[in-house]
């Protein structure tokens, strides 16, 4: 039960009941698109064309999911989005790990090894959080060209790492600023150096903010479309781009059930991450200082 004493008059109770009714309605409304997607993705095409969007499937089938995964056409090729799903994983995993690691080191250096101009540097890094992706498309393409990374997976990872560092640095810097500096002083006197202090003292208490950083970076990079479409070739496209191609392929009749299944597949990892780790995300963002 909630920990509040409320008025118990009939009017007040009625008001509360109405409040909950409205909230419930809003929640249902909010969940409706997801429900429609799920329902549609397990209907045979024959049940969709009459236009009964909300009716439950009479003969549920997983065929659209199988088709979306393995044989649906994305542009010229018809091999499903499964390949691109693994492309996304191959991009997201290294990009998340690298950007989180760099953000952690940056946050550590900016708070525990302050130098002249470190605050200014941090302020400038914060700018990175506000730069719209479109602005850097051309210069980034140019740079990747110079580096010989055009249309490669490594190039896409690099772009995501660079964009992610601004956020991960912000997370870790704000977390480490609350960790007592005396811990670092004590470790210095004990004879530990820069990396040893980070590894042995700071990192073991960083679990909450690592969770935040990983979830944030994972959803950002997984859901990215613009960089994916701009900096990847056919064989390195992430799943978001493949989904777009699948939906926009204009040969034959439109298979809404396959489209929906593909969209569900593309959205599933972020959904799962939120369901499993959402609690830790909130907890990590609101985590207080570490007591020494």
């Amino acid at each position: 039960m909630d920990n509040v004493i409320r008025r118990r008059t009939p009017g007040a109770r009625l008001g509360r009941a109405m409040l909950y009714a409205v909230l419930l309605l809003a929640a249902l409304f909010y969940l409706l698109p997801l429900a429609v997607m799920l329902i549609t993705s397990v209907k045979p095409l024959a049940e969709i064309t009459p236009g009964t969007l909300l009716s439950l499937p009479r003969e549920p089938t997983l065929a659209p999911w199988a088709k979306a995964w393995g044989e649906a056409c994305t542009g010229m090729r018809c091999e499903g989005i499964g390949v691109y799903f693994f492309n996304s994983i191959a991009i997201v995993v290294p990009a998340v790990l690298i950007s989180t690691a760099i953000g952690a080191l940056n946050g550590y250096a900016l708070t525990k090894w302050r130098f002249k101009g470190s605050e200014l540097l941090f302020a400038l890094m914060l700018f990175g959080c506000f730069i719209p992706f479109q602005v850097v498309l051309l210069p980034m393409a140019q740079t990747l060209g110079w580096l010989g990374l055009s249309s490669s997976r490594a190039g896409l990872i690099l772009v995501h790492v660079i964009f992610g560092i601004a956020f991960t640095t912000l997370f870790f810097r704000n977390f480490y600023v609350a960790v007592p500096t005396e811990l670092v002083s004590a470790a210095k006197l004990d004879g530990a150096g820069f990396f040893r202090i980070f590894w042995r003292i700071l990192l073991p208490v960083s679990a909450p903010i690592i969770v935040v950083s990983v979830i944030w970076q994972f959803t950002q990079i997984w859901n990215d479309f613009l960089f994916g479409v701009a900096f990847s070739a056919h064989n390195t496209q992430p799943v978001t781009v493949a989904l777009n191609n699948l939906v926009n392929t204009s040969t034959g009749a439109r298979e809404y059930n396959v489209d929906m299944a593909a969209a569900m597949i593309a959205a599933l990892p972020t959904l799962i991450v939120y369901v499993l780790a959402g609690k830790y995300f909130v907890r990590g963002l609101t985590a207080g200082s570490v007591k020494g």
Partner: protein
Amino acid sequence: MAALEINNVCKDFGSEQVLKDVSLAIDSGEFLILVGPSGCGKSTLMNAIAGLEPVTTGEIRIAGENVTWQTPAERDIAMVFQSYALYPSMTVRQNISFGLEMRKVPKAEREAAVERVAELLQIAHLLERKPSQLSGGQRQRVAMGRALAREPKVYLFDEPLSNLDAKLRVDMRTEIKKLHQRLGTTIVYVTHDQIEAMTLADCIAVMRDGRILQLGSPDEVYNDPVDLFVAGFMGSPSMNFISATLMGGSGAYRLRVETPEEETLELPWPRERETPALAGKVGERVILGLRPEHFTEDDARLSEYDEGVALTPHITVVEPTGADILLQLKLGDGEATARVGPKCRVKAGERLTLRIDMGRAVMFDRETEKRLA
């Protein structure tokens, strides 16, 4: 050879000077206390000794070696922090042995050091716990254990007792003193608590505004303060400062204390405490410093300076502390505090005959606040 030597150290933060030409030296095995109000620079000086902050100018030597530009790790010192700064992810055992591990001490020796320290501080039963599972007093012990495990040249204590409750603080104070007597370690200890300073130190440095005002034994600092600040800072309740006029000329000096609506008091200044500086101040206003215990009840005998001077002031407040009674009394243009025995029956608003032991009184210049005699 001095265990620790600080020569003309200055430290600037931007345009602000937080340490102004600080010099001191202590011998091996000495217990030095840096004491002063907050913002006096004592913690900065401590950090400079530890190597956590570079000094602007000056030199720091440990066991004769110039360490001014050595890193904290190179200096061979250990520090106990105010917040204890125990590594939260490690057990007590790991906390204590971390410094040894970083210095590549073999595992067997590390184990032995942990056992030795755990026994010394009676924390053997806590070794497998995490800091978050310890009480304040236990954390304090572990923090000391971490410092003691490594047997460095100098120990630094940065207000180690200020986070403990009053009773525990007194216990730990005694324990630190015992440890020092037993181990004979060189300790620099920062505190703002003048009682800690008096009870623990071999040598006290009273600091204010980045300067060391006085460096001396607890007895010297307490009984022979160099100026008004040191006199007021050391001792609780603090010294009474009474406006007086220095009279003299023919032979002995006297201090005339005028109290509104009371008889004017003339206090003879003891011959043996006369200084040449007094001659120039005859007829001028000076400040007389009297500690609360320099007042005694009339029936008590005074050994040091004849019978003392009698006065019968108005008592305004009576504060029994249990061990003794503090009296507020009208003297000069303000009030003074006197400490009398617990059996005194005087009530507020009454008068009580007291004697002042002038043999321990001190006198300060009104303008410069420096000691005159």
